[in-house]
């Protein structure tokens, strides 16, 4: 393992790994957005709000459970389910009536929803910064490749990424609801004409997509300060990731998140003042050559 460090400087390697752990968050949130975009055809601007709500719920749950290690694990389970419940109510009461509307209307409506969610969060949690502690056994550093200190929590994120990706693959390819949703993404009318209640399929897919947003919010919570407005930057990034990956393609979301996360972390290394520009440049370059995204879009 020493050999890797001989070729790449430890600084670059650790920057890449940090970039990858950021990629995991982006992938989890963007894959949910992509799922909803592919199956329901809703460009859900309020997706970022559910990520933010997930982070705030993580704060509340972890404090209810004493703020320590138990609090974190409880939050990891309960907060995404809480977000799923919120999204279920939103879908049944509002979104289900809008699937046939044109996309501009949906953009405006979901943008309005994001403002409503933002104000609700302000009402419930207030405008202060909140923080979720890193659980005790994830604090500190481990030595990767025999001498590269790397935050354990980031390492945990690196493990979660593939786990979620495999679960998503199983969901879309091996379960009946996954197969139905793939069929509905292409021809929802015909899915109805073989006896499937498409409305409930959409509700389930919407809730799963939002649950992923919530999960992303919970996972990011210990690494950032949980605050109002954390939804805005993320939703833009998530949309760009989904667009460069191919609309509705979950693997595109993975690829897009990798490109976005890595260019961001390496950009900081190359040109610190302008590091934030690099992922956007990558997006432009991808779209110049592949206007419909890197992988097959379902649109």
């Amino acid at each position: 393992m020493d050999s890797i460090l001989a070729f790449v400087s430890p600084g670059i390697l650790s920057q890449i790994l940090v970039g990858l752990s950021r990629t995991v968050i982006l992938f989890i949130v963007a894959s949910g957005l992509s799922l909803i975009l592919g199956v329901l055809r809703i460009p859900n601007v309020a997706h970022g709000s559910l990520y933010m709500i997930g982070a705030f719920m993580a704060y509340t749950v972890s404090h209810l459970f004493g703020g320590g290690t138990a609090g974190f694990w409880a939050a990891l389970v309960i907060a995404p389910l809480g977000v799923a419940a919120v999204s279920f109510v939103a879908e049944r009461s509002l979104f289900q009536f809008l699937y046939e509307r044109e996309h501009l209307m949906l953009l405006l409506l979901t943008f309005a929803m994001s403002l409503v969610f933002g104000d609700l969060v302000k009402l419930i949690w207030g405008a202060e910064y909140r923080s979720v502690p890193v659980p005790a056994h994830f604090q500190g550093y481990i030595n990767l490749f025999g001498g590269l200190p790397f935050p354990i929590y980031s390492f945990f994120l690196l493990v979660m990424g593939p786990v979620i990706a495999v679960l998503l693959w199983l969901l879309t390819n091996k379960t009946k609801i996954g197969k139905i949703s793939r069929a509905a993404a292409v021809d929802r009318e015909m899915v109805g004409a073989v006896g499937i209640n498409v409305s409930w399929v959409f509700a389930i897919v919407f809730v799963i997509g939002c649950l992923l947003a919530g999960l992303g919010g919970v996972l990011v919570a210990p690494t950032v300060s949980v605050t109002l407005g954390m939804d805005h930057t993320l939703i833009i990034e998530a949309f760009l990731i989904v667009i460069i990956g191919g609309l509705g393609n979950v693997w595109g979301a993975l690829l897009g998140a990798l490109i976005f996360g890595l260019t961001q972390s390496l950009g900081i290394l190359i040109w610190p003042q302008f590091g934030i520009v690099f992922p956007y440049m990558a997006v432009v370059i991808v779209l110049v050559f592949r206007p419909t995204g890197l992988l097959k879009s379902t649109w």
């Binding site: 009946k176 069929a183 015909m190 004409a193 073989v194 499937i196």
Partner: protein, 229 residues
């Protein structure tokens, strides 16, 4: 079994069907014949609730199902095979059949594959990669998975090679023998006449003729005017 009474159907502002009335009895294969654009597909879609009629009623097995959601109509026992096939291209043949709502065990994958042995051999292949004839078999197989009492077959032989058309005619006859009622729309009158016992001729959204196959064969005027035979 199926009783359509005086339905009027619109696409947006355009009036497509005018006072269409037709009946399909139990175990009967009834033809809905007419030229391209005559209103055959719209009639099918109106019955299935995909384009709900604005006037008139659709009664199925004694129950008024007018304007019901397509998935409810399927669960009541109406199978729909659209003219443009619409297989679920991303899924393999097996999955196309697996996701269908099964309302009884009467038809399952084994029985469907026995009817279409060619499909069994390609069951792992993606539906989007199948030939036209295979896709047509798959759409019929898919509708059968719901154990329908009535099949709406919209131009099943359209665009298929003569040899495949002949196979399909035999399979449709087998379905009739299995006791499934069929409403079969066709431009290809010669092919349709082999399978049906009664026919409706539709033109410009209106039913122009109804009668038995013999009556239709004898009526040169209707054949010339509406069917181009």
């Amino acid at each position: 079994m199926l009783d359509v009474k005086g339905i009027d159907t619109y696409y947006g502002l355009s009036h497509i069907l005018f006072d269409v009335t037709l009946k399909v009895g139990a175990g009967e294969v009834v033809g809905l014949l007419g030229r391209n654009g005559a209103g055959k597909s719209t009639t099918m879609k109106s019955i299935m609730g995909i384009v709900p009629p604005r006037k008139g009623t659709v009664t199925f097995n004694g129950e008024n199902v007018t304007g019901g959601k397509p998935f409810m109509l399927f669960r009541k026992g109406i199978g729909y095979v659209p003219d443009d096939r619409r297989v679920f291209a991303d899924l393999c043949v097996d999955d196309n059949l697996d996701i269908v709502h099964q309302r009884s065990k009467e038809w399952d994958k084994e029985r469907v594959y026995d009817l279409f042995p060619a499909l069994r051999e390609i069951k792992a292949r993606r539906a989007g990669h199948l030939s036209g004839g295979e896709q047509q078999m798959l759409t019929i197989a898919r509708a059968l998975m719901g154990s329908p009492d009535l099949l709406l077959l919209d131009e099943p032989t359209e665009g298929l090679a003569p040899l495949i058309v002949r196979d399909l005619e035999q399979q449709i006859s087998k379905l009739r023998d299995a006791g499934i009622s069929i409403l079969l729309s066709e431009q290809n009158v010669r092919s349709a006449l082999k399978m049906i016992s009664r026919a409706y001729v539709i033109d410009n959204g209106r039913i122009r003729f109804e009668g038995t196959v013999e009556e239709l064969e004898a009526n040169e005027e209707v054949k010339k005017k509406y069917l181009m035979v």
